[in-house]
Symmetry: C2
Subunit: 202 residues, 2 copies
Amino acid sequence: MPYSAAHREKTRAKIIETARILFNKNGFQNVTIDQVMQEAGLTRGGFYNHFKSKEALFSEAVSSFLMGRGAVWRKEAGIDMSDLKPEMAQQMVDAYLSKDHLGDIEGQCPMIALPSDVARADPDTQASFQHLLTAMVWLFENALPAENENRRHQALSAAAMCVGGMVLSRTLPSAELAEEVRSAAHQTATELTKAHNVSAGT
Amino acid sequence: MPYSAAHREKTRAKIIETARILFNKNGFQNVTIDQVMQEAGLTRGGFYNHFKSKEALFSEAVSSFLMGRGAVWRKEAGIDMSDLKPEMAQQMVDAYLSKDHLGDIEGQCPMIALPSDVARADPDTQASFQHLLTAMVWLFENALPAENENRRHQALSAAAMCVGGMVLSRTLPSAELAEEVRSAAHQTATELTKAHNVSAGT
DNA sequence: TGTACATCAGTGAACGCGCGTTCACTGATGTAC
DNA sequence: TGTACATCAGTGAACGCGCGTTCACTGATGTAC
């Protein structure tokens, strides 16, 4: 056995992380395999030792966010999915709809950076995207008291508000308007994470 | 003067409308000029008689929505921007977050179909995108009574909810989850268009 | 009214480049002895 | 402990295709006379 078993895995992970950042910055089509491999310190040809195709890499890159960069991000925000507390919903809203997150192109959630790319990607990639949303909704839902019979509605709406606010904010050329949208979305998302929210009533 | 003055303009409009539909379906990069021209009943070479570049066409296509397909769409929804009435906010929410709109890939609002494409496009295209949002926010804002001091916040949030709900719904592979998101976003957006909304309070 | 002409929208072949993918080869490394 | 070997991660040249853009040409049409 040449090369340690870990070596292959490490290289693979390095390629995925490099790709994730590049895709986030430039989108699926504007990133070349050459570019990814070069930035990962490798050469073009080796790519197919690790991945079936560029699409497969994209899928891995989107998928890697949840337990990779996203985990770091959650930790910084004080969120621990395995020890959920009610206040973590607010922490998520604060972090997700923050200026920092908006400006952090490289570390941004793929739901913000790549929605139309994923909408046209293969089912694997879309499944990864869905996992991201599911995790977010799960957090919002379970941070609310079980007695709140609207909690799923609130959770789904809060997630839509987080993503919608950020997608718009990121695309608007006017910094003022972008900030207005972000701030309004933040405020409304905050209300939606509160235990007894009047506006979400059936 | 060969050809009537109107002829040139008609051809140009035909190219833009064909392009708008194709971009909506496949995204900026997955549409070729060949494809657009062919579908418009013309040949490749003529394209540059009408547009400077593919990017310029994209900008025109996004820009055309507001007064083109979008106007038809508003009319169908009973919305008249030049004779705004309070109930039109609800009509907008109903139409925008409808199943019909979700399934209408060709006629869909570009804010839903092309957000990441526009985020990486040139300033002209982004300005067109911003006009779409501005118009939507304007409608929500002015449909609310002037005394409501939170009306701009509500309007911005309603717009973010409309776009966020639809972007997510369109990308999720699970039809059930997509429907849950759409329905929750619809409900919350509805609340946000009401005259006295508690949850949007400062 | 009819005809020659000038204009320019439209044609289609060609260019040039970039990129995803393939492939024969190399050489670093762990293992057997 | 040292050395020959087998493996396979990594290399880099080449392939083939597609697409944005250019360009010399064509021919339909409105106008002048």
